[in-house]
C-alpha cells in the first residue's frame, strides 16, 4: 500500500463516517521505490490531499516536507518530496487503526484488507435471515 492510498482511505464503518480518518499507520515492513517524479499527477492530486494525514505520516517516516502553504503547489522541490512520500513509500506489512472506533485493518503483502466482518455490517437484513 502506497502512502497515497492511505491518504484516501477512511474507516469503512457507518458510525465512523466523517471521523474515520486519517487512519493510524503501524508499519512492520516497508519498501522504498524508485519511481520517477510525476509532476503532472502531483499537481492534480495536491488539492485533494488530506494534510492532517500527510503530516502525520511524514513525521512517522522522519520526512520534513517544510511548511505547507497554498503556494506549495508551485514549489517544485516541495512537490518532489511530496511525490516521494506518496508514491515511493510502499507499506508491505502493517496495520491501520481507525482513530474513532479503534477497528484494526491488516496490511499483508502490500494490500490493505478493508473488509469488515459480517457482524460489523449495518445493512438491511431480511428478518427471516436474521433468525437463522
Amino acid at each position: 500500500m502506497k502512502i497515497l492510498t492511505h491518504n484516501m482511505m477512511a474507516c469503512t464503518k457507518r458510525q465512523c463516517v466523517g471521523r474515520g480518518f486519517p487512519l493510524l499507520l503501524e508499519v512492520k515492513d516497508v519498501s522504498k521505490l524508485e519511481q520517477e517524479f510525476n509532476v503532472e499527477f502531483t499537481k492534480n492530486i495536491f488539492p485533494k490531499l488530506d494534510w492532517k494525514g500527510i503530516t502525520m505520516v511524514a513525521a512517522q517516516f522522519n520526512l520534513n516536507l517544510g511548511p505547507i502553504t497554498e503556494k506549495s503547489i508551485e514549489d517544485e522541490e516541495f512537490l518532489k518530496n511530496l511525490y516521494n512520500l506518496l508514491c515511493n513509500v510502499k507499506v508491505m506489512t502493517g496495520q491501520l487503526t481507525c482513530p474513532n472506533c479503534q477497528r484494526v485493518y491488516p496490511i499483508d503483502q502490500g494490500i490493505p484488507n478493508m473488509l469488515l466482518k459480517e457482524d460489523e455490517i449495518y445493512q438491511d437484513i431480511q428478518p427471516e435471515q436474521q433468525q437463522q
Binding site: 484516501m8 469503512t12 466523517g18 474515520g20 485533494k48 490493505p112 473488509l115
Partner: protein, 410 residues
C-alpha cells in the same frame, strides 16, 4: 477550419461516434459540420446498414492528430481531393478543381504512395492495382518518387482511394438471387450439355455508389490494441476485458496523463492496465483477493511489470463496494468499471450467509477468519456504484461502466 473525411472501422458501430466525441471533448477540440441525418446510420447496431464514412470540420491537422492518437474505432482522417462515382469523374475533378501547375508539381521532392480500399466488396490484388492505375492520366502522378515503406522520411504522402459499394450489400433479395443462380448452374451441370460453354458474367457490373480520393492526415490508434492482446498477458481471468473495449472505455472516461482513476471491481485489472498506459495513476479494489493475487509470481502486478507500467499503479485494496473505504470529498477523476452482474463472475458482498452455521466468528479466530459473503443483487451493485461516483468523483469527472443487455436486464 478544414473539412475532413473520417473513416471509421467496421466494428462496434454504436461506440464509434461516441468515442470520437469523448476524445474530442477530452482535448477540448471542437467539431463542426457533421451531417446529423447520417448519425443513425453511423451508429446503427445492424452492420448491414451502418456506414463508416462521416465528413466533419476541424480547426487544423494538429487537432486531427490529437484525436487519432487515442481513438481506436477511427481508421483514419483524410483530406478529400475528389469525390465521384466514376473514375472519369475523379479525374475531371482533379483537373478542374486544381491549378495544373500546382497539381503536376505537387509530388516534386516528395515520396508518396497510394492505397486502395473498398467498402462492401472485395477485390483481388491485381484488381486493386488496376483500379489505382486508372488514375494515372492525371498529371498528379507525373512527379515525385513512389515508395511503399520509406525509412526515416518525414514527409510521406499517403493517398487513399476508397470505393463505397453502399450499405445493404447482403439484402435478402440479393441472397435469394444468388441462391437461384447457383441452382441453375447445378441444373445445367446435370443436363450435361457440354458443348456450349456460356459465360454467366454478361451482367453489367454494378459500379460503386461513391468513391473518395484523399490524403491521409492521421491514422487511428489501432496499433495500441495488439500490445494488450489477452493471449500475451501473463495473468488472465475469466472476466478479463477485451483490450479494444478497454481502450474505448478509457477514452470515454477521459483518462489522460495525471488522472487519478479507480476501478472498484478490478478483478484481473484490464481497465487499470489500459488507464495506466494512457498515463493515469490507478487504484483497484476487489472483494476477492484471489482475483487480484493468484500467486506470488503471477498476479495483477505481473501484467504491469510486463508492459513497464508499474509506476502508474498506486495499488490494490481489498474492500467491499457496499461499504467503500474512501474518505469524504471528491478524490478520483474517473471511475471505469465492469461491475459483476453474476453472469461470468458472481457478485458478492460481506453479510450473513444463511448456509453458514456460525453467525459470528468463533473466539480466537478473529484475524484468520474470512468474512462471510452473501449475494450482491444487481440493483444494489448499481446503487452503490452510482453513489460512489456521485460522492468521490471530482466535478467534471467521468463514470464509465458496462451493463449487460441480455433480455433479463433490459
Amino acid at each position: 477550419m478544414v473539412r475532413y473525411l473520417c473513416i471509421f472501422v467496421q466494428q462496434y458501430p454504436t461506440f464509434r461516434y461516441r468515442e470520437l466525441l469523448a476524445v474530442a471533448s477530452m482535448f477540448n477540440i471542437k467539431i463542426w459540420g457533421i451531417d446529423e441525418s447520417l448519425l443513425p446510420i453511423i451508429e446503427s447496431d445492424v452492420l448491414e446498414i451502418s456506414s463508416p464514412f462521416l465528413y466533419m470540420d476541424l480547426e487544423s491537422d494538429e487537432d486531427v492528430k490529437k484525436i487519432c492518437s487515442r481513438t481506436v474505432l477511427v481508421r483514419g482522417f483524410y483530406r478529400v481531393w475528389a469525390e465521384s462515382n466514376t473514375y472519369q469523374g475523379l479525374l475531371d475533378q482533379l483537373a478542374n478543381n486544381y491549378d495544373p501547375e500546382f497539381i503536376s508539381t505537387f509530388h516534386k521532392d516528395k515520396i508518396w504512395k497510394i492505397e486502395f480500399d473498398s467498402f462492401g466488396r472485395r477485390f483481388s490484388k491485381e484488381d486493386q492495382l488496376e483500379r489505382m492505375h486508372r488514375l494515372k492520366p492525371s498529371p498528379l502522378w507525373s512527379s515525385g518518387k513512389v515508395s511503399m515503406n520509406p525509412n526515416g522520411v518525414n514527409e510521406h504522402v499517403v493517398w487513399r482511394l476508397t470505393e463505397d459499394y453502399g450499405l445493404s450489400r447482403d439484402t435478402p433479395e440479393l441472397m435469394a438471387e444468388r441462391a437461384q443462380e447457383k441452382e441453375k448452374e447445378k441444373e445445367k451441370e446435370n443436363e450435361m450439355t457440354t458443348t456450349t460453354t456460356t459465360t454467366t458474367d454478361n451482367q453489367v457490373e454494378k459500379g460503386p455508389q461513391n468513391m473518395y480520393l484523399g490524403i491521409l492526415v492521421a491514422k487511428g490508434n489501432r496499433e495500441s490494441i495488439s500490445q494488450f492482446n489477452l493471449q500475451d498477458r501473463k495473468y488472465l481471468g475469466t472476466t478479463s476485458m477485451d483490450p479494444e473495449l478497454s481502450i474505448i472505455s478509457a477514452n470515454m472516461g477521459h483518462v489522460r496523463p495525471g488522472s487519478f482513476m479507480l476501478d472498484p471491481f478490478v478483478g484481473t485489472g484490464s481497465f487499470v492496465l489500459i488507464s495506466s498506459y494512457f498515463g493515469a495513476q490507478t487504484v483497484g479494489c476487489d472483494i476477492d483477493v484471489a482475483a487480484m493475487r493468484k500467486t506470488q509470481t503471477c498476479n495483477l502486478e505481473t501484467n504491469f511489470e510486463q508492459l513497464g507500467l508499474l509506476d502508474n499503479l498506486v495499488g490494490v485494496v481489498i474492500c467491499d463496494n457496499s461499504s467503500a473505504p474512501w474518505r469524504d470529498g471528491p478524490i478520483f477523476d474517473c471511475i471505469i468499471t465492469d461491475p459483476p452482474y453474476g453472469i461470468r463472475a458472481g457478485a458478492k458482498r460481506v453479510g450473513y450467509n444463511k448456509n453458514r452455521r456460525h453467525k459470528a466468528p468463533p473466539e480466537g479466530f478473529k484475524w484468520s477468519h474470512m468474512a462471510q459473503t452473501t449475494e450482491y443483487k444487481v440493483p444494489d451493485v448499481m446503487a452503490d456504484l452510482l453513489e460512489l461516483a456521485a460522492k468521490k468523483l471530482v466535478i467534471g469527472g467521468r463514470l464509465v461502466y458496462w451493463l449487460p443487455t441480455t433480455p433479463e436486464y433490459v
